[in-house]
Amino acid sequence: MIGSGILHGLAVTAKNFAGSFTDPARLVTVGYPEERLPPKENARQFPFLVFDGDDSEAGLRCVACQICEKECPPQCIFIIKSKAKKPDHLGKPQLYPATFDIDFSVCMSCQICVEVCPFDAIKMDQEFELATADRFDGLLRHKDQLARPNAYFQKLHPTDAGAIDTLRAAEAEKARAAAAVKAAATASESVKPPAAPGSVP
Protein backbone atom coordinates (compact mmCIF):
# COMPACT_ATOMS: atom_id res chain seq x y z
CA MET A 1 0.00 0.00 0.00
CA ILE A 2 1.36 3.44 -0.88
CA GLY A 3 2.41 5.15 2.33
CA SER A 4 2.65 2.09 4.54
CA GLY A 5 6.43 2.09 4.23
CA ILE A 6 6.52 5.70 5.42
CA LEU A 7 4.46 4.84 8.49
CA HIS A 8 6.73 1.91 9.21
CA GLY A 9 9.79 4.13 8.92
CA LEU A 10 8.22 6.73 11.19
CA ALA A 11 7.63 4.03 13.80
CA VAL A 12 11.28 3.00 13.62
CA THR A 13 12.58 6.53 14.07
CA ALA A 14 10.11 7.20 16.88
CA LYS A 15 11.39 4.12 18.66
CA ASN A 16 14.94 5.37 18.20
CA PHE A 17 14.02 8.81 19.50
CA ALA A 18 12.33 7.49 22.62
CA GLY A 19 14.97 4.84 23.13
CA SER A 20 17.79 7.38 23.15
CA PHE A 21 16.28 8.85 26.34
CA THR A 22 15.59 5.61 28.16
CA ASP A 23 18.01 3.02 26.85
CA PRO A 24 21.69 3.76 27.54
CA ALA A 25 22.66 1.08 25.04
CA ARG A 26 21.17 3.25 22.26
CA LEU A 27 22.83 6.51 23.28
CA VAL A 28 26.49 5.53 23.16
CA THR A 29 27.89 9.02 22.63
CA VAL A 30 29.97 10.39 25.52
CA GLY A 31 30.21 14.11 26.39
CA TYR A 32 33.91 14.21 25.59
CA PRO A 33 35.93 16.65 27.66
CA GLU A 34 34.07 15.86 30.87
CA GLU A 35 33.39 12.19 30.28
CA ARG A 36 35.87 9.89 28.63
CA LEU A 37 35.75 6.36 27.42
CA PRO A 38 38.25 4.02 29.12
CA PRO A 39 41.39 3.77 26.94
CA LYS A 40 41.73 0.77 24.68
CA GLU A 41 44.95 -1.16 25.07
CA ASN A 42 45.77 -1.31 21.39
CA ALA A 43 44.93 2.30 20.66
CA ARG A 44 47.85 4.27 19.25
CA GLN A 45 48.57 7.88 18.43
CA PHE A 46 52.23 8.91 18.18
CA PRO A 47 55.48 7.19 19.22
CA PHE A 48 57.43 7.72 22.44
CA LEU A 49 60.81 6.44 23.70
CA VAL A 50 60.98 3.99 26.61
CA PHE A 51 63.63 4.29 29.33
CA ASP A 52 64.33 1.97 32.25
CA GLY A 53 64.97 3.16 35.77
CA ASP A 54 64.62 6.76 36.83
CA ASP A 55 67.04 8.61 34.62
CA SER A 56 65.69 9.29 31.16
CA GLU A 57 69.20 9.83 29.82
CA ALA A 58 70.92 6.82 31.36
CA GLY A 59 68.07 4.36 31.02
CA LEU A 60 67.04 5.15 27.45
CA ARG A 61 66.72 1.89 25.54
CA CYS A 62 67.43 3.47 22.17
CA VAL A 63 70.87 2.69 20.79
CA ALA A 64 70.60 5.08 17.82
CA CYS A 65 70.68 2.26 15.29
CA GLN A 66 68.56 4.47 13.00
CA ILE A 67 66.46 1.60 11.65
CA CYS A 68 63.28 3.46 12.52
CA GLU A 69 64.59 6.60 10.87
CA LYS A 70 65.19 4.66 7.66
CA GLU A 71 61.91 2.75 7.77
CA CYS A 72 59.65 5.66 8.65
CA PRO A 73 57.41 6.15 5.56
CA PRO A 74 56.85 9.91 5.97
CA GLN A 75 60.42 10.43 7.25
CA CYS A 76 59.42 12.16 10.43
CA ILE A 77 62.22 10.78 12.66
CA PHE A 78 65.57 12.55 12.93
CA ILE A 79 68.45 10.92 14.87
CA ILE A 80 72.06 11.99 15.53
CA LYS A 81 74.29 9.33 17.03
CA SER A 82 76.36 10.08 20.09
CA LYS A 83 80.15 10.06 19.99
CA ALA A 84 80.51 8.32 23.36
CA LYS A 85 78.98 5.05 24.49
CA LYS A 86 77.00 4.07 27.56
CA PRO A 87 76.19 0.62 28.94
CA ASP A 88 72.78 -0.86 28.12
CA HIS A 89 70.71 -3.13 30.37
CA LEU A 90 73.03 -6.02 29.56
CA GLY A 91 76.04 -3.98 30.53
CA LYS A 92 77.25 -3.81 26.96
CA PRO A 93 78.51 -0.39 25.85
CA GLN A 94 76.20 1.03 23.21
CA LEU A 95 75.78 4.24 21.30
CA TYR A 96 72.84 6.42 22.27
CA PRO A 97 70.98 9.15 20.39
CA ALA A 98 72.42 12.60 20.96
CA THR A 99 69.34 13.97 19.19
CA PHE A 100 66.05 12.13 18.66
CA ASP A 101 63.27 14.25 17.13
CA ILE A 102 59.88 13.21 15.84
CA ASP A 103 57.76 15.65 13.90
CA PHE A 104 54.18 14.89 14.98
CA SER A 105 52.80 17.04 12.22
CA VAL A 106 54.29 14.58 9.72
CA CYS A 107 53.89 11.31 11.60
CA MET A 108 51.03 9.18 10.34
CA SER A 109 50.79 6.83 13.33
CA CYS A 110 51.60 3.76 11.23
CA GLN A 111 53.61 2.06 14.02
CA ILE A 112 56.26 0.80 11.58
CA CYS A 113 59.01 2.25 13.80
CA VAL A 114 57.66 0.13 16.64
CA GLU A 115 57.59 -2.97 14.46
CA VAL A 116 61.17 -2.62 13.28
CA CYS A 117 62.84 -1.59 16.55
CA PRO A 118 65.04 -4.52 17.74
CA PHE A 119 65.48 -2.98 21.20
CA ASP A 120 61.82 -2.31 22.12
CA ALA A 121 62.88 1.27 22.58
CA ILE A 122 60.09 3.04 20.69
CA LYS A 123 56.41 2.42 21.44
CA MET A 124 53.08 4.05 20.62
CA ASP A 125 51.59 6.62 22.96
CA GLN A 126 47.86 7.16 23.46
CA GLU A 127 47.91 10.86 24.14
CA PHE A 128 45.81 12.62 21.51
CA GLU A 129 45.19 16.11 22.92
CA LEU A 130 48.16 17.63 21.13
CA ALA A 131 46.56 20.83 19.90
CA THR A 132 49.01 23.69 19.91
CA ALA A 133 49.12 27.25 18.72
CA ASP A 134 52.55 26.69 17.17
CA ARG A 135 52.33 24.12 14.45
CA PHE A 136 56.08 24.04 13.76
CA ASP A 137 58.01 23.84 17.02
CA GLY A 138 54.95 22.89 19.01
CA LEU A 139 54.62 19.61 17.16
CA LEU A 140 58.33 18.82 16.85
CA ARG A 141 59.09 16.63 19.87
CA HIS A 142 62.64 16.26 21.16
CA LYS A 143 64.28 13.38 23.01
CA ASP A 144 63.53 14.67 26.49
CA GLN A 145 59.85 15.20 25.59
CA LEU A 146 59.57 11.79 23.97
CA ALA A 147 61.18 9.79 26.78
CA ARG A 148 58.72 7.99 29.07
CA PRO A 149 59.50 5.55 31.90
CA ASN A 150 58.84 1.87 31.42
CA ALA A 151 56.10 2.09 34.05
CA TYR A 152 54.17 4.36 31.69
CA PHE A 153 54.51 1.80 28.91
CA GLN A 154 53.36 -0.93 31.28
CA LYS A 155 50.30 1.11 32.12
CA LEU A 156 49.39 1.77 28.46
CA HIS A 157 50.02 -1.65 26.95
CA PRO A 158 50.20 -4.17 29.85
CA THR A 159 50.27 -7.30 27.69
CA ASP A 160 52.96 -6.06 25.36
CA ALA A 161 55.06 -4.55 28.16
CA GLY A 162 54.78 -7.69 30.31
CA ALA A 163 56.09 -9.92 27.53
CA ILE A 164 58.93 -7.54 26.76
CA ASP A 165 59.86 -7.20 30.43
CA THR A 166 60.05 -10.99 30.88
CA LEU A 167 62.16 -11.29 27.77
CA ARG A 168 64.51 -8.54 28.83
CA ALA A 169 64.74 -9.91 32.38
CA ALA A 170 65.68 -13.33 30.97
CA GLU A 171 68.26 -11.73 28.68
CA ALA A 172 69.71 -9.76 31.56
CA GLU A 173 69.72 -12.90 33.74
CA LYS A 174 71.55 -14.82 31.03
CA ALA A 175 74.01 -12.00 30.56
CA ARG A 176 74.54 -11.76 34.31
CA ALA A 177 75.09 -15.56 34.53
CA ALA A 178 77.52 -15.41 31.63
CA ALA A 179 79.28 -12.50 33.26
CA ALA A 180 79.40 -14.38 36.56
CA VAL A 181 80.88 -17.46 34.90
CA LYS A 182 83.29 -15.27 33.03
CA ALA A 183 84.18 -13.44 36.22
CA ALA A 184 84.63 -16.76 38.03
CA ALA A 185 86.79 -18.00 35.18
CA THR A 186 88.95 -14.90 35.20
CA ALA A 187 89.12 -15.08 38.99
CA SER A 188 90.23 -18.74 38.98
CA GLU A 189 92.57 -17.92 36.14
CA SER A 190 94.17 -15.21 38.22
CA VAL A 191 94.47 -17.63 41.15
CA LYS A 192 95.73 -20.60 39.10
CA PRO A 193 97.33 -19.30 35.93
CA PRO A 194 97.98 -22.71 34.35
CA ALA A 195 94.32 -23.73 33.99
CA ALA A 196 93.06 -26.89 32.33
CA PRO A 197 92.69 -26.25 28.62
CA GLY A 198 89.17 -27.74 28.40
CA SER A 199 87.59 -25.72 31.23
CA VAL A 200 86.75 -22.61 29.22
CA PRO A 201 83.01 -22.01 29.41
Binding site: I2, L10, N16, F17, S20, R26, L27, T29, G31
Partner: protein, 392 residues
Amino acid sequence: MDALDAIFVTLKHLVVGWFPALLQPWVSALISIGAILAIFPLLFGLTTVLERKALARIQNRPGPNRVGPAGFLQFVADGIKSLTKEDIVPRAADRVVHFLAPLVVVIPPLLSFAVLPVGRNMVALDLRETGLLFFLMVGTAVELGVFMAGWSSHNKYSLLGAMRALAQLLSYELPLLLSTVPVVMLTGSLSLVGIVEKQSAVHGGFLMGWNLFTPWGAAGAVLFFIAAIAEANRSPFDLPEAESEIVAGYFTEYSGFKFALFFLGEYLGLFAVSGLGITLFLGGWLPPFSFLAWIPSWLWFLCKLAGLMVVFIWLRGTLPRLRMDQLMRFAWQFLLPMALVNLLVAGLWHFTSPWPVALRWLLGVAILAVPYLMFNRAFERRHPQRTYRYVS
Protein backbone atom coordinates in the same frame (compact mmCIF):
# COMPACT_ATOMS: atom_id res chain seq x y z
CA MET B 1 -9.98 33.90 30.22
CA ASP B 2 -11.14 36.31 27.56
CA ALA B 3 -8.66 38.81 28.95
CA LEU B 4 -5.81 36.36 28.45
CA ASP B 5 -7.10 35.46 25.02
CA ALA B 6 -7.15 39.09 23.95
CA ILE B 7 -4.04 40.14 25.88
CA PHE B 8 -2.01 41.02 22.81
CA VAL B 9 -4.88 42.83 21.14
CA THR B 10 -5.51 44.83 24.32
CA LEU B 11 -1.84 45.67 24.68
CA LYS B 12 -1.64 46.86 21.12
CA HIS B 13 -4.73 49.06 21.52
CA LEU B 14 -3.21 50.46 24.70
CA VAL B 15 0.04 51.38 23.00
CA VAL B 16 -1.70 52.77 19.93
CA GLY B 17 -3.91 54.89 22.21
CA TRP B 18 -0.87 56.83 23.43
CA PHE B 19 -0.34 58.35 20.01
CA PRO B 20 -2.30 61.13 18.31
CA ALA B 21 -5.10 59.96 16.05
CA LEU B 22 -3.21 60.96 12.93
CA LEU B 23 -0.37 58.57 13.70
CA GLN B 24 -2.49 55.71 15.00
CA PRO B 25 -2.82 53.65 11.79
CA TRP B 26 0.93 53.91 11.26
CA VAL B 27 1.74 52.91 14.82
CA SER B 28 -0.68 50.02 14.61
CA ALA B 29 0.94 48.75 11.42
CA LEU B 30 4.43 49.23 12.85
CA ILE B 31 3.57 47.23 15.97
CA SER B 32 2.20 44.39 13.86
CA ILE B 33 5.26 44.43 11.64
CA GLY B 34 7.55 44.51 14.66
CA ALA B 35 5.76 41.57 16.23
CA ILE B 36 6.05 39.52 13.03
CA LEU B 37 9.71 40.43 12.61
CA ALA B 38 10.46 39.53 16.22
CA ILE B 39 8.45 36.37 16.73
CA PHE B 40 8.95 34.34 13.58
CA PRO B 41 12.74 34.69 13.29
CA LEU B 42 12.93 33.76 16.99
CA LEU B 43 10.80 30.72 16.25
CA PHE B 44 13.19 29.96 13.40
CA GLY B 45 16.12 29.97 15.81
CA LEU B 46 14.39 27.74 18.31
CA THR B 47 13.23 25.39 15.57
CA THR B 48 16.74 24.93 14.22
CA VAL B 49 17.97 23.94 17.70
CA LEU B 50 15.01 21.65 18.27
CA GLU B 51 15.48 20.12 14.84
CA ARG B 52 19.15 19.44 15.45
CA LYS B 53 18.42 17.91 18.82
CA ALA B 54 15.54 15.79 17.58
CA LEU B 55 17.42 14.57 14.52
CA ALA B 56 20.34 13.71 16.77
CA ARG B 57 18.08 11.70 19.05
CA ILE B 58 16.65 9.86 16.07
CA GLN B 59 20.23 8.98 15.13
CA ASN B 60 21.05 8.08 18.76
CA ARG B 61 23.23 11.11 19.43
CA PRO B 62 22.73 13.78 22.11
CA GLY B 63 22.85 16.71 19.67
CA PRO B 64 23.94 20.26 20.52
CA ASN B 65 24.14 20.62 24.31
CA ARG B 66 26.84 23.18 25.02
CA VAL B 67 25.57 26.73 24.46
CA GLY B 68 23.10 27.85 27.08
CA PRO B 69 20.77 25.59 29.03
CA ALA B 70 20.70 22.18 27.31
CA GLY B 71 22.11 23.80 24.18
CA PHE B 72 19.07 25.97 23.50
CA LEU B 73 21.13 29.09 22.83
CA GLN B 74 22.94 27.35 20.01
CA PHE B 75 21.07 29.45 17.46
CA VAL B 76 22.49 32.64 18.99
CA ALA B 77 25.99 31.28 18.56
CA ASP B 78 25.15 30.25 15.00
CA GLY B 79 23.79 33.71 14.26
CA ILE B 80 26.86 35.48 15.65
CA LYS B 81 29.08 33.14 13.68
CA SER B 82 27.29 33.73 10.40
CA LEU B 83 27.25 37.49 11.01
CA THR B 84 30.98 37.68 11.61
CA LYS B 85 31.98 35.44 8.73
CA GLU B 86 33.43 36.84 5.56
CA ASP B 87 30.90 37.49 2.83
CA ILE B 88 32.39 36.07 -0.36
CA VAL B 89 31.00 36.90 -3.77
CA PRO B 90 32.51 34.84 -6.60
CA ARG B 91 34.36 36.92 -9.17
CA ALA B 92 32.30 35.46 -12.01
CA ALA B 93 29.02 36.04 -10.22
CA ASP B 94 26.40 38.47 -11.38
CA ARG B 95 26.84 40.82 -8.42
CA VAL B 96 23.49 42.61 -8.42
CA VAL B 97 21.36 39.50 -8.87
CA HIS B 98 23.57 37.62 -6.43
CA PHE B 99 22.92 40.32 -3.83
CA LEU B 100 19.17 40.54 -4.48
CA ALA B 101 18.45 36.80 -4.41
CA PRO B 102 18.52 36.26 -0.62
CA LEU B 103 16.22 39.24 -0.16
CA VAL B 104 13.74 37.90 -2.71
CA VAL B 105 13.79 34.61 -0.81
CA VAL B 106 13.29 36.10 2.68
CA ILE B 107 10.82 38.93 2.13
CA PRO B 108 7.83 37.00 0.67
CA PRO B 109 7.36 34.66 3.65
CA LEU B 110 7.52 37.67 5.97
CA LEU B 111 4.85 39.38 3.85
CA SER B 112 2.65 36.32 3.99
CA PHE B 113 2.57 36.38 7.79
CA ALA B 114 0.65 39.64 7.46
CA VAL B 115 -2.55 37.88 6.40
CA LEU B 116 -2.17 34.87 8.70
CA PRO B 117 -4.64 34.92 11.61
CA VAL B 118 -2.55 33.74 14.56
CA GLY B 119 -5.31 34.27 17.10
CA ARG B 120 -8.77 35.69 17.57
CA ASN B 121 -8.63 39.24 16.12
CA MET B 122 -4.90 38.79 15.66
CA VAL B 123 -4.23 39.38 12.01
CA ALA B 124 -2.08 42.23 10.76
CA LEU B 125 -3.92 42.68 7.47
CA ASP B 126 -7.34 41.16 7.00
CA LEU B 127 -7.92 40.92 3.27
CA ARG B 128 -11.62 40.09 3.25
CA GLU B 129 -11.74 39.43 -0.46
CA THR B 130 -8.40 37.95 -1.37
CA GLY B 131 -6.50 36.76 1.70
CA LEU B 132 -5.73 33.29 0.40
CA LEU B 133 -4.79 34.63 -3.03
CA PHE B 134 -2.37 37.08 -1.42
CA PHE B 135 -0.80 34.23 0.48
CA LEU B 136 -0.37 32.04 -2.58
CA MET B 137 0.87 34.94 -4.67
CA VAL B 138 3.54 35.74 -2.16
CA GLY B 139 4.59 32.09 -2.06
CA THR B 140 5.27 32.01 -5.78
CA ALA B 141 7.72 34.90 -5.60
CA VAL B 142 10.22 32.67 -3.78
CA GLU B 143 10.76 30.64 -6.96
CA LEU B 144 12.23 33.64 -8.70
CA GLY B 145 14.59 34.26 -5.79
CA VAL B 146 15.80 30.69 -5.88
CA PHE B 147 16.38 30.94 -9.58
CA MET B 148 18.24 34.22 -9.20
CA ALA B 149 20.50 32.73 -6.55
CA GLY B 150 21.32 29.67 -8.60
CA TRP B 151 21.85 31.46 -11.87
CA SER B 152 23.81 34.45 -10.62
CA SER B 153 26.40 32.30 -8.83
CA HIS B 154 27.74 31.05 -12.18
CA ASN B 155 28.40 27.70 -10.62
CA LYS B 156 27.26 24.44 -12.17
CA TYR B 157 26.02 23.04 -8.90
CA SER B 158 24.07 26.18 -8.16
CA LEU B 159 22.52 26.15 -11.60
CA LEU B 160 21.57 22.50 -11.24
CA GLY B 161 20.05 23.30 -7.86
CA ALA B 162 18.11 26.20 -9.31
CA MET B 163 16.81 24.07 -12.19
CA ARG B 164 15.74 21.38 -9.78
CA ALA B 165 14.11 23.95 -7.54
CA LEU B 166 12.18 25.52 -10.41
CA ALA B 167 10.96 22.19 -11.75
CA GLN B 168 9.95 21.09 -8.28
CA LEU B 169 8.25 24.32 -7.26
CA LEU B 170 6.31 24.57 -10.51
CA SER B 171 5.16 20.95 -10.26
CA TYR B 172 4.11 21.05 -6.64
CA GLU B 173 2.42 24.42 -6.81
CA LEU B 174 -0.42 22.85 -8.75
CA PRO B 175 -1.38 20.23 -6.12
CA LEU B 176 -0.86 22.88 -3.44
CA LEU B 177 -3.30 25.26 -5.10
CA LEU B 178 -5.77 22.53 -5.99
CA SER B 179 -5.85 21.15 -2.46
CA THR B 180 -6.80 24.59 -1.12
CA VAL B 181 -9.66 24.96 -3.60
CA PRO B 182 -12.12 22.64 -1.76
CA VAL B 183 -11.79 24.81 1.34
CA VAL B 184 -12.61 27.90 -0.70
CA MET B 185 -15.51 26.07 -2.37
CA LEU B 186 -17.05 25.00 0.91
CA THR B 187 -16.36 28.24 2.76
CA GLY B 188 -17.37 30.51 -0.07
CA SER B 189 -14.68 33.00 0.86
CA LEU B 190 -11.02 33.70 0.20
CA SER B 191 -10.61 35.46 3.53
CA LEU B 192 -8.40 33.49 5.90
CA VAL B 193 -10.25 34.91 8.90
CA GLY B 194 -13.52 33.90 7.31
CA ILE B 195 -12.21 30.39 6.71
CA VAL B 196 -11.29 30.03 10.38
CA GLU B 197 -14.60 31.41 11.56
CA LYS B 198 -16.46 29.02 9.29
CA GLN B 199 -14.79 26.12 11.15
CA SER B 200 -16.04 27.26 14.55
CA ALA B 201 -19.33 25.35 14.28
CA VAL B 202 -19.68 22.68 16.97
CA HIS B 203 -20.75 19.17 15.98
CA GLY B 204 -22.14 16.57 18.36
CA GLY B 205 -21.85 18.86 21.34
CA PHE B 206 -18.05 18.95 21.57
CA LEU B 207 -16.24 18.37 18.26
CA MET B 208 -15.27 21.53 16.42
CA GLY B 209 -16.03 21.81 12.73
CA TRP B 210 -12.42 21.70 11.54
CA ASN B 211 -12.13 21.03 7.85
CA LEU B 212 -9.90 18.12 8.79
CA PHE B 213 -12.94 16.32 10.15
CA THR B 214 -14.49 15.86 6.70
CA PRO B 215 -13.43 13.40 3.99
CA TRP B 216 -12.35 16.14 1.58
CA GLY B 217 -10.62 18.00 4.38
CA ALA B 218 -8.65 15.00 5.58
CA ALA B 219 -7.54 14.08 2.07
CA GLY B 220 -6.92 17.74 1.24
CA ALA B 221 -4.81 18.21 4.35
CA VAL B 222 -2.61 15.23 3.49
CA LEU B 223 -2.19 16.43 -0.10
CA PHE B 224 -1.62 20.00 1.05
CA PHE B 225 1.07 19.11 3.55
CA ILE B 226 2.90 16.84 1.10
CA ALA B 227 2.91 19.65 -1.43
CA ALA B 228 3.83 22.14 1.30
CA ILE B 229 6.91 20.15 2.29
CA ALA B 230 7.94 20.09 -1.36
CA GLU B 231 7.30 23.85 -1.71
CA ALA B 232 9.43 24.50 1.35
CA ASN B 233 12.29 22.42 -0.12
CA ARG B 234 12.34 20.19 2.91
CA SER B 235 13.48 16.64 3.21
CA PRO B 236 12.49 14.28 1.60
CA PHE B 237 11.95 16.83 -1.18
CA ASP B 238 15.22 18.71 -0.62
CA LEU B 239 16.64 17.97 -4.05
CA PRO B 240 17.47 21.62 -4.83
CA GLU B 241 19.97 21.69 -1.96
CA ALA B 242 20.96 18.04 -1.82
CA GLU B 243 24.27 18.21 0.02
CA SER B 244 25.47 14.80 -1.06
CA GLU B 245 24.74 15.46 -4.74
CA ILE B 246 25.17 19.14 -5.56
CA VAL B 247 26.90 20.56 -2.45
CA ALA B 248 24.23 23.01 -1.32
CA GLY B 249 22.41 23.54 -4.59
CA TYR B 250 21.39 27.08 -5.37
CA PHE B 251 23.15 28.61 -2.35
CA THR B 252 26.49 26.87 -2.76
CA GLU B 253 28.19 30.18 -3.50
CA TYR B 254 26.73 32.06 -0.57
CA SER B 255 28.57 32.62 2.65
CA GLY B 256 28.21 34.50 5.89
CA PHE B 257 24.94 36.20 6.57
CA LYS B 258 23.49 35.69 3.10
CA PHE B 259 23.78 31.96 3.66
CA ALA B 260 21.92 32.38 6.94
CA LEU B 261 19.28 34.41 5.12
CA PHE B 262 18.56 31.47 2.82
CA PHE B 263 18.05 29.28 5.85
CA LEU B 264 15.86 31.92 7.44
CA GLY B 265 13.81 32.20 4.27
CA GLU B 266 13.39 28.47 4.05
CA TYR B 267 12.15 28.11 7.61
CA LEU B 268 9.95 31.20 7.38
CA GLY B 269 8.44 29.69 4.24
CA LEU B 270 7.82 26.49 6.14
CA PHE B 271 6.17 28.40 9.01
CA ALA B 272 4.05 30.36 6.55
CA VAL B 273 2.83 27.37 4.61
CA SER B 274 2.23 25.45 7.85
CA GLY B 275 0.28 28.40 9.16
CA LEU B 276 -1.80 28.33 5.99
CA GLY B 277 -2.39 24.60 6.45
CA ILE B 278 -3.46 25.21 10.04
CA THR B 279 -5.81 27.94 8.92
CA LEU B 280 -7.31 25.94 6.10
CA PHE B 281 -7.60 22.49 7.61
CA LEU B 282 -6.71 22.44 11.29
CA GLY B 283 -9.13 25.09 12.47
CA GLY B 284 -6.73 28.01 12.72
CA TRP B 285 -6.76 29.30 16.28
CA LEU B 286 -9.75 27.15 17.25
CA PRO B 287 -9.45 24.32 19.77
CA PRO B 288 -10.26 20.79 18.59
CA PHE B 289 -12.97 20.33 21.23
CA SER B 290 -15.31 23.02 22.41
CA PHE B 291 -14.59 22.32 26.09
CA LEU B 292 -10.95 23.29 25.51
CA ALA B 293 -11.93 26.79 24.45
CA TRP B 294 -10.55 28.28 27.70
CA ILE B 295 -7.00 27.97 26.36
CA PRO B 296 -6.07 31.25 24.58
CA SER B 297 -6.50 31.18 20.83
CA TRP B 298 -2.93 32.30 20.02
CA LEU B 299 -1.62 29.47 22.17
CA TRP B 300 -3.63 27.02 20.12
CA PHE B 301 -2.13 28.36 16.94
CA LEU B 302 1.39 28.15 18.34
CA CYS B 303 0.80 24.62 19.61
CA LYS B 304 -0.45 23.51 16.21
CA LEU B 305 2.54 25.13 14.53
CA ALA B 306 4.90 23.41 16.96
CA GLY B 307 3.13 20.10 16.38
CA LEU B 308 3.52 20.45 12.64
CA MET B 309 7.20 21.30 13.04
CA VAL B 310 7.66 18.14 15.09
CA VAL B 311 6.03 16.12 12.32
CA PHE B 312 8.24 17.76 9.70
CA ILE B 313 11.38 17.11 11.74
CA TRP B 314 10.28 13.55 12.29
CA LEU B 315 9.73 13.07 8.55
CA ARG B 316 13.14 14.58 7.85
CA GLY B 317 14.74 12.12 10.22
CA THR B 318 12.93 9.22 8.59
CA LEU B 319 12.73 9.54 4.84
CA PRO B 320 15.56 9.42 2.32
CA ARG B 321 15.70 11.96 -0.48
CA LEU B 322 13.66 11.27 -3.59
CA ARG B 323 15.12 11.04 -7.05
CA MET B 324 14.14 13.67 -9.60
CA ASP B 325 11.98 11.35 -11.71
CA GLN B 326 10.28 9.96 -8.62
CA LEU B 327 9.60 13.49 -7.49
CA MET B 328 8.00 14.48 -10.78
CA ARG B 329 6.06 11.27 -11.13
CA PHE B 330 4.71 11.64 -7.60
CA ALA B 331 3.50 15.18 -8.27
CA TRP B 332 1.92 14.63 -11.66
CA GLN B 333 0.74 11.06 -11.41
CA PHE B 334 -0.44 10.89 -7.83
CA LEU B 335 -0.91 14.25 -6.10
CA LEU B 336 -2.53 16.09 -8.99
CA PRO B 337 -5.16 13.43 -9.86
CA MET B 338 -5.94 12.91 -6.19
CA ALA B 339 -6.39 16.67 -5.73
CA LEU B 340 -8.80 16.73 -8.68
CA VAL B 341 -10.76 13.80 -7.26
CA ASN B 342 -10.84 15.66 -3.96
CA LEU B 343 -12.54 18.59 -5.73
CA LEU B 344 -15.30 16.21 -6.76
CA VAL B 345 -15.64 14.91 -3.22
CA ALA B 346 -15.87 18.44 -1.87
CA GLY B 347 -18.57 19.29 -4.41
CA LEU B 348 -20.59 16.21 -3.51
CA TRP B 349 -20.19 17.00 0.20
CA HIS B 350 -21.67 20.41 -0.47
CA PHE B 351 -24.62 19.14 -2.46
CA THR B 352 -25.45 16.21 -0.18
CA SER B 353 -25.73 18.34 2.95
CA PRO B 354 -29.27 17.10 3.77
CA TRP B 355 -28.07 13.49 3.90
CA PRO B 356 -27.05 11.74 7.12
CA VAL B 357 -23.43 12.35 8.00
CA ALA B 358 -22.44 8.67 7.93
CA LEU B 359 -23.69 8.30 4.37
CA ARG B 360 -21.85 11.42 3.24
CA TRP B 361 -18.66 10.11 4.81
CA LEU B 362 -19.09 6.75 3.14
CA LEU B 363 -19.58 8.39 -0.23
CA GLY B 364 -16.57 10.64 0.17
CA VAL B 365 -14.26 7.91 1.38
CA ALA B 366 -15.42 5.58 -1.38
CA ILE B 367 -14.75 8.16 -4.10
CA LEU B 368 -11.30 8.84 -2.67
CA ALA B 369 -10.45 5.19 -2.07
CA VAL B 370 -11.10 4.01 -5.62
CA PRO B 371 -8.38 6.08 -7.35
CA TYR B 372 -6.06 5.52 -4.40
CA LEU B 373 -6.37 1.75 -4.74
CA MET B 374 -5.92 2.04 -8.50
CA PHE B 375 -2.72 4.01 -8.00
CA ASN B 376 -1.67 1.46 -5.48
CA ARG B 377 -2.16 -1.40 -7.94
CA ALA B 378 -0.27 0.42 -10.67
CA PHE B 379 2.51 1.22 -8.23
CA GLU B 380 2.82 -2.35 -7.06
CA ARG B 381 2.85 -3.62 -10.62
CA ARG B 382 5.69 -1.23 -11.43
CA HIS B 383 7.57 -1.95 -8.24
CA PRO B 384 7.11 -5.60 -7.31
CA GLN B 385 8.07 -6.53 -3.79
CA ARG B 386 11.83 -6.71 -3.63
CA THR B 387 13.40 -9.92 -2.47
CA TYR B 388 16.81 -9.86 -0.88
CA ARG B 389 19.02 -12.93 -1.03
CA TYR B 390 21.46 -12.03 1.67
CA VAL B 391 19.28 -10.00 3.99
CA SER B 392 16.77 -11.71 6.20
